[in-house]
């Protein structure tokens, strides 16, 4: 019996090795490469290219609806320009604020040792993980209603009404971590000896930071700034809640889409995509070459800026701004939830409280919430699995690519979903896969999945490229030298190294999919995910129910974030 079993095992192992040998043949491998690229094109590039193509082909129709509508004239175009203008202005202000808060905080996290540093580090990352619609709702409650800040001052109305200022406040909260994140690591790795050298040559700390450290952080800072800018430019979920009558471009896309104004939506989506792509390409091409504005030094002035008083004020300011503009507003929804738990804190009416609204009211919101939560989890899980399967070969390919130019180009292409507005990307997917294109899907569950796979693709590929890069090639080479086929070597040698990278990529993809609003609204049809449901609740003015959904989302994403940090930290220690 035993020997028979062993025979079967040996046979199976041999078959596996044989299969892997076949898979390792050059023809099979290049076939695999082609498929990898094909999927990438179909999911990410295809929709965008198709959108461009259709606009060119149907230029006449677009021209009529956008510029020469018989009734509205070029009103559509003017509205586009207004919304894009507003989006760009908001993004610009937000980015400046991000740098003012984000850079000092990155410096604090990289350079100082203090108690609770780990907690601060997690808190800074949090807004990236929490769904923006929950974040936007929380921020609206804090600034815009009489529950939040104005309660402290006994005021009956909100501090900041819906509109540009509130949009900016919301966007700062979830974009500034991109700046902090992208430079914290670089600052940590800076060679302190260079700063000592600068010191002995007579430079004050501020001069050193400006002339020696900044040039080395520059590229990371630029990359982070572009991410923050494009995220602000393309955000939908939070903006829908805080914008009121002021419509940013992605919000306009969503509302036109709801009105099924396909040609104008297509045109606006394309413009947004082109703006983001241009920014991405410019930064990639010129980040290294951008010079710093002034080489002139003002020793006395810069010395004053370096004094303990000034630096302490600066650090304190950055932390203060972080807590007052990001942390407290972002989590205020939890406080709100407790305020409205059983009854209204103002009138004492129990039917206005959360318990009644969610669990007892005849419309059974809890059922809706659970159903949406189920849909969200289901989608996020499927999207994560699909992305792991299609992203791993892509990451391997980019990491192993020897031709520098091709590698750089691929690298650029992979970042595309990272920068273009997700509502525009969602629209392109709808356009390509739906009735206007291949006619394979109608809006609904599966189209949401395709859209989510598309915009979360970079979130999955990026960390995997990092993991592949970190694996020393010598093991692989050694394994092949011992006669293992490439596939066997990959399974036996590379994959174990990759474990934590894969988990990290999975969690990133999962949280990203969980929290998306813009692309979902466009592709969802009658389905509802929980961030979208939150927006619905908000629009129906059932705030306590929205707060309940938001709190669930915050808890889930916070747990995900902690898990992610744990795994990446363990990987670093190994």
């Amino acid at each position: 019996m035993v020997s028979e079993q062993r025979d079967v095992e040996v046979k199976m192992r041999r078959t596996l090795l044989k299969a892997e040998k076949w898979l390792s043949k050059n023809t099979v491998l290049s076939f695999g490469t082609i498929i990898t690229v094909l999927i990438f094109v179909l999911i990410v590039l295809g929709p965008i290219l198709y959108l461009l193509l259709q606009i060119l082909i149907n230029w006449k129709e677009i021209n009529t609806t956008v510029f020469n509508d018989p009734i509205l004239g070029n009103e559509a175009f003017l509205m586009m320009m207004r919304s894009i203008g507003l989006s760009l202005q908001v993004a610009a202000v937000v980015t400046v604020f991000d740098i003012i808060v984000g850079v000092p905080i990155a410096w604090i996290l990289a350079r100082y040792e203090f108690r609770g540093k780990n907690i601060l580090d997690t808190l800074v990352d949090m807004p990236m993980a929490v769904p923006t619609s929950a974040l936007g709702f929380s921020i609206y409650l804090f600034w815009g209603t009489n529950n939040g800040l104005s309660r402290l001052f006994n005021s009956q109305v909100g501090f900041v009404s819906q509109g540009t200022l509130l949009i900016i406040l919301a966007h700062v909260a979830f974009t500034f971590p991109y700046v902090t994140r992208s430079i914290k690591g670089i600052i940590t790795d800076l060679d302190l000896n260079l700063e000592k050298a600068g010191k002995t040559l007579g430079a004050s700390p501020f001069t050193i930071a400006r002339m020696i450290s900044l040039p080395m952080v520059k590229e990371g800072l630029l990359a982070g700034t572009v991410l923050a800018f494009t995220r602000s430019l393309g955000e939908t979920g939070a903006t829908l809640i805080v914008s009121g009558v002021y419509q940013t471009a992605p919000v306009v896309i969503v509302s036109w889409m709801k009105g099924l104004k396909i040609p104008t939506t297509a045109f606006l989506a394309l413009i947004l995509i082109l703006i983001s792509l241009t920014l991405l390409a410019l930064v990639r091409l010129f980040a290294r070459k951008v010079g710093l504005p002034w080489g002139k030094v003002f020793p006395k002035f810069e010395r004053k800026l370096s004094s303990k008083k000034v630096t302490r004020t600066r650090d304190g300011m950055a932390l203060f701004l972080f807590f007052i503009f990001v942390f407290i507003p972002a989590l205020f929804v939890i406080i709100y939830l407790f305020q409205w738990w059983g009854k209204s804190p103002f009138s004492g009416d129990p039917t206005a409280g959360m318990i009644y609204q969610v669990f007892q009211a005849p419309d059974q919101k809890i059922g809706e919430i659970l159903h949406a939560l189920g849909t969200s989890l289901e989608i996020a899980l499927i999207v994560t699995l699909i992305n792991l399967v299609i992203a791993t070969p892509m990451a391997l390919m980019v990491s192993k690519m020897k031709k520098k130019k091709v590698k750089g180009f691929l690298d650029l292409l992979i970042d595309i979903p990272l920068v273009i507005p997700s509502s525009a990307l969602g629209f392109s997917i709808f356009f390509l896969w739906g009735s206007n294109g291949m006619h394979l899907l109608s809006p609904g569950f599966f189209m949401i999945i395709i859209a989510h796979v598309s915009f979360s693709y970079s979130y999955c590929v990026r960390p995997l490229i990092g993991s592949f890069d970190a694996i020393p090639t010598m093991y692989d080479e050694a394994a092949t030298a011992f006669g293992a086929s490439k596939f066997t070597a990959f399974r036996k040698v590379t994959l174990p190294f990759l474990k934590s990278g894969l988990i990290a990529a999975a969690i990133m993809t999962f949280t990203r999919s969980m929290s998306e609003t813009g692309a979902t609204i466009i592709t969802m049809g009658t389905e509802r995910t929980i961030p979208v449901l939150l927006v619905d609740f908000f629009e129906a003015s059932t705030f306590p129910a929205a707060a309940f959904a938001a709190t669930i989302l915050i808890i889930i994403s916070f747990a995900m974030l902690l898990l992610l940090r744990r795994i990446t930290r363990r990987a670093k220690n190994e």
């Binding site: 000896n193 000592k196 050298a197 010191k199 002995t200 007579g202 430079a203 020696i212 040039p215």
Partner: protein
């Protein structure tokens, strides 16, 4: 330019001692080498001088003015690091002119000084290169030029040649001394390499565990080490223990096997002592030479190994039940073969005698 003094300068890192009670005085224009093994407090001393550390106790004086609490950027100390620390995103010229720019000096003058220095250091024409485009030796020359052009009154170098190849190191040692002497600048140069210290410096301060054990000219320190530690650190040598005995006005070291070595020492009869002999002072001859030799001590020994390492042969000799290391200049053309009997000849002044207590204290 400047006279530098350290008075009981002490630096603790939390619990650990960096340096303790360092007393040093470096005259205007003097070239001092700080010599010691890794962890002996050299870098700490250099950082104290440059102002990168403030002393926990004691003071640092430039021209009799206490500068202990003046930060590095205001001290005008040119610092040359072991790892060069050139700013990677700046060209050679921008690196060199960094000091003058941040100090708002006259750039026309600085640029001229920089050109002259680069010519003097043999690296003209590299001004527009980036640090990663030039060799290690060139990098260190640039770092040196950068430190000097920043209007430094004192040059402090922390093991500046450590990362370089032996050949370049020797060339730069000579260049360094010449440059420093030409400029008349006060210079403190930390190194772990005895030869380097002796080649560059007017005076050497030997460090051990954060304290100075001996200060003197290279000749003084080498020929008259004040402790076994200094003697052992400065050169390759062999040691042997014994007891002092006196007979007919001569002093002898009596070994455990009753061999008697004629020595010169202040130690008294009956005291336990350690004798140290530098490898190059042991002369080795074939047995046949015995009659022609005129030495205080001549012993028979077994030659265990002969190895040619360049200018000299390294010999391992079994004698008095231990092993002596000797250096023998090539060119002497004496046929010495492995495992043969030889004569080991030494004079009484060749031995450095230390009381045995000291060794015990060390351990």
């Amino acid at each position: 330019m400047v006279k530098v003094e350290l008075k009981e300068a002490t630096k603790y890192y939390e619990e650990r001692r960096g340096v303790e009670d360092i007393n040093l005085s470096i005259d205007d224009g003097e070239y001092l080498a700080v010599l010691g093994p890794t962890g002996s407090g050299k870098t700490t001393t250099m950082y104290l001088l440059a102002g990168l550390f403030t002393p926990s106790r004691g003071s640092i004086l430039f021209d009799d003015e206490d500068v202990s609490h003046i930060p590095a950027e205001d001290r005008n100390v040119g610092f040359v690091f072991e790892e060069y620390n050139l700013f990677p995103r700046m060209t050679v010229e921008s690196n060199i002119l960094f000091g003058p720019i941040v100090k708002d000096l006259d750039l026309i003058v600085s640029r001229k000084v920089s050109r002259e220095l680069l010519a003097l250091l043999n690296i003209s024409g590299k001004e527009s290169n980036f640090p990663d485009e030039i060799s290690g030796g060139q990098k260190q020359r640039v770092a040196l030029a950068r430190a000097i052009v920043s209007d430094a009154h004192i040059l402090v170098m922390d093991d500046p040649l450590r990362a370089l190849d032996a050949k370049i190191r020797e060339i730069l040692q000579v260049e360094l001394r010449k440059l420093v002497k030409d400029l008349g600048i006060t210079c403190i140069h930390a190194t772990h390499d005895t030869q380097e210290a002796m080649r560059v410096a007017d005076k050497i301060a030997v460090f051990k565990n954060g304290k100075i054990v001996q200060i003197g000219t290279p000749e003084e320190v080498y020929n008259h080490p004040n402790s076994l530690y200094v003697a052992e650190f400065l050169g390759e040598s062999s040691t042997i223990e014994g007891k002092i005995d006196v007979s007919k006005g001569e002093k002898f070291l009596v070994l455990s096997d009753e061999s008697r070595i004629n020595i010169a020492t202040d130690l008294k009869k009956g005291e336990e002592a350690i004798a140290l002999i530098p490898s190059e002072l042991i002369d080795v001859f074939p047995l046949t030479e015995k009659k022609n030799l005129n030495y205080h001590n001549i012993f028979e020994a077994t030659l265990l190994d002969v190895r040619c390492v360049g200018e000299f042969n390294e010999l391992n000799i079994s004698i008095f039940g231990t092993i002596f290391k000797a250096k023998d200049l090539i060119g002497k053309e004496i046929p010495l073969r492995k495992n043969s009997k030889v004569l080991v000849a030494t004079d009484k002044d060749d031995y450095r005698i230390f009381p045995k207590k000291e060794k015990e204290n060390n351990e």
